[in-house]
Symmetry: C2
DNA sequence: CTGTGGTTTTTTATTGATAAAAGACCAAAC
DNA sequence: GTTTGGTCTTTTATCAATAAAAAACCACAG
């Protein structure tokens, strides 16, 4: 077999949902236009079109492309088939690692991971290479990968960098005018926090996603690709950590949301010192929460 | 063809140079001992041994392994054959990029790089993946890699992080006792700086290596894998930059060496504030030097 | 001469085959 | 009974073949 037809399926799906908005007989526009709109090559769009013509969804001959009938639900490919491979590995792998039942020192076999997650071996390899500088895994040349585990020292070092970056970003943020896009976005996030805190406890489950957005937005004020990059990886780790550690979840999230609000309030009305103080307090809580859930043992 | 026999050649070379210290008739020791000493598998050591037996360098039958004659120069494999692939790509690629005649926006073809540097395509791919988070290149999914170039904003962002990390490391260093290994190592580096400054101008060519060691040692005080990792990459970039930018080289190096000495003196005898000040001054000069050589134009 | 679609070429992603290197196993030697 | 070396198995690195996707090319309609 050669490469997967993922892009073709994804393009077909997106083309179909576009067609749902049209009435039968409507013109579809030129191939080049469709390709540009879908962000794919004309070759792939043509494959999708001929697939849809065969299925009787469109009439197609030369320049004349018309909707023949409304797309049905079973015309679509399943979402699972179009999900990016990288995303699937990342999710499966991080879930496995942060689940906690994988001991540090475990050797990772590329072929086995590839089989287990049903993804190409090259994609597994690529993921592991990308993940290595992050420090959780290590490659022994000519040998296998070794899991170094989520140790206390790892968590500590991660937080040291996080504190450095977020403090730096906050200082940059304080220097920005109140009308800047980032500060406007922060005001919107402030409103979302208030709405979440007013809602029922169950709604608190959506806090991790909000938390990730808040911190990424904060870091984006640094306008630094290295910091953005780190923030992305950290948000993955923290996100999966939240998913895993269910203890006192609602209470913990509520407290974190309130700490976010204190930072946001200080940014809006308070002094720079108060904002720095609020951020430091929040990061200290976050560090404490994370460290509590990391086992003392481990290499 | 399958994989290269690089490890075999390297093991053979190292075994040969070990044999040069022995007199003919001497026993070589067990296969397992040799394998452990050379950091390779017994399988590979056995291949090397049978190669050397065939060449008449040793007499080998069962447990009895003796040196038959002194290894000659032409018994060795050429150094070029044993150099790690990763190192070769890194050197060739970074040299090409930092040479400056490659315009940002240039597309990189994996197969072409593989041919040009005579390294396996997979190794090129691996190198590019590792290098991507560093921000110089970018992958368009299902398409090629794109060079983003060594732009002013890139250099600026790199230095922002560098300043953050080195300041943090310095604070950690100031808290260490005078007898700590890092401070001892710094005293040795201090002496090397003084020796270099006393020597002729030509000796200043070895400064870049000393500079890299100084900064890496400083960063190592942070005891943080993320910081160490960044330091490694930066030292590569700065190293290649030095190699490229020959203007006022000696003068520039001399100045930097003196700035290093000021930091080291402050660490030894001065106040914390003086040390911080000296570091800030040095980083400002370094930033200025780098920025001067980065063209204003570019994406 | 510009936009469009049919066609061909190039490049990338993926797989399976193959040899190097590592690692496991086991019997003989000390 | 521990060490050592011969042999076999597993895993990794590499290449070649193949199909998807992209990109280039070209002819023709308007």
């Amino acid at each position: 077999m050669a490469r997967d037809t993922k892009v073709f399926k994804d393009v077909t799906n997106r083309l179909l949902s576009h067609l749902q908005g049209l009435t039968p007989g409507a013109e579809l526009g030129s191939e080049a236009t469709l390709a540009a709109a879908l962000g794919a090559s004309r070759t792939t769009v043509r494959s999708a079109l001929s697939h849809m013509a065969q299925a009787g969804i469109i009439d197609w001959s030369g320049r004349d492309k018309r909707l023949a009938r409304q797309p049905r639900r079973d015309d679509f490919f399943s979402l699972d088939e179009t999900r990016p491979t990288a995303e699937r590995i990342e999710e499966a792998f991080l879930h496995w690692i942060l689940q906690g039942d994988v001991a540090p020192g475990t050797t990772l076999n590329e072929a086995e991971l590839s089989r287990r997650y049903d993804v190409p071996a090259a994609a597994v390899r690529e993921f592991l290479i990308r993940f290595e500088p992050f420090g959780l895994i290590e490659k022994r040349p000519n040998r296998h990968w070794v899991l170094k585990g989520f140790t206390r020292s790892f968590a500590q070092e991660m937080f040291d960098v996080r504190e450095m970056y977020e403090s730096h970003a906050l200082d940059r943020l304080l220097a920005l005018p109140a009308e800047s896009p980032i500060r406007q976005a922060l005001r919107e996030i402030d409103a979302e926090h208030r709405a979440l805190l007013k809602a029922e406890d169950a709604a608190m489950l959506s806090f991790p996603a909000l938390d990730a957005r808040f911190h990424r937005l904060l870091l984006s004020a640094a306008c630094n690709r290295f910091i953005d990059n780190f923030g992305q990886t950290i948000s993955i780790i923290v996100h999966y950590h939240y998913r895993w550690n269910k203890k006192d979840e609602t209470l913990r999230n509520r407290k974190a949301a309130e700490e976010h609000l204190r930072i946001l309030a200080a940014l809006e009305n308070g002094t720079a010192a108060e904002a720095r103080d609020a951020l430091a307090a929040h990061l200290a809580t976050a560090r404490d929460t994370l460290m509590r859930s990391v086992p003392w043992a481990g290499a």
